[in-house]
Amino acid sequence: MHTFFALLAGLIFGIGLIIGGMSNPAKVLAFLDLAGNWDPSLALVMGGAIPVSAIAFYWAGMRRKSFLGHAMHLPGTRNLDKRLVIGGILFGIGWGLAGICPGPSLVLLGTGAWKALVFVAAMLAGMWVFEKVGK
């Protein structure tokens, strides 16, 4: 039962990415191409998601436990460090090269795209490298 809600969340997230246009790497790149024919759509995906998410976090902040009785795992780290910037830059370069970030890569995998399989394999390898050397 608990697991069902995680599955449901993943499904809704994926359908949101599809409807929002995030599962089309060409559209993502058109959003990142400020100097070209700029497609601002994806800014509105964030604009639609953030207020709803903000309400959820506000609600969660008033509760000690989730509705299923799990502890609230909210990040407690506050310090701004170089890792955030360096990690963000590396991620941004990868995002700009292919137009794919982690969520859409999994949705694309579900469409059966071979290119998504290769991307996801490389992404997992990158995460694995971090586990081995980056920590």
């Binding site: 246009g21 100097a35 509705f67 990690g87 990868g94 700009g96 995460m127």
Partner: protein, 144 residues
């Protein structure tokens, strides 16, 4: 700046965004977890008891989403232009960068921004600027 009004899809973008927000709400209010995709996925790389099922279920949901969507309606156009070597390089950078920076577009860009987390604002600024610059260099300087 030249805006591409033909391909601008404000309503579906907003609707998709609202759904993403709802999904974040569902995972947070039922499991007490942040729907940061890179974090959820990387947590599967090392198995901790009791911490695997929800992650796997969430990932399965994302992968199955287009299949479910396809039953009711035709999937919107999706095109990957990047070459194979570029895809591999991009995937490696996305995997490494999201772990090193503790998050991606969902964890920092949506969840963190909606909590007004200074860490997420910094990370989001870093990956957005890097994304803009990368596309500028690739398309307008190198001309790939």
């Amino acid at each position: 700046m030249n805006i591409d009004w033909v391909n601008f899809t404000p309503y579906s973008a907003l609707a998709g965004g609202v759904l993403i927000g709802l999904a974040i709400a569902v995972l947070l209010l039922t499991h007490g977890r942040i729907a940061g995709i890179s974090g959820v996925v990387s947590g599967l790389l090392h198995r901790n008891k009791g911490d695997t099922a929800w992650r796997a279920a969430f990932v399965v949901g994302l992968i199955v989403a287009p299949v479910l969507y396809g039953i009711f309606s035709a999937l919107p156009e999706s095109r990957v232009d990047a070459s194979w070597p570029l895809l591999i390089l991009a995937g490696l950078l996305v995997g490494l960068g999201t772990r090193y920076g503790s998050g991606c577009t969902s964890g920092h860009g949506v969840c963190g921004m909606s909590r007004l987390s200074p860490r997420s604002m910094l990370a989001t600024a870093a990956f957005m600027v890097a994304g803009f610059v990368t596309v500028f260099v690739v398309r307008h300087l190198i001309g790939l």
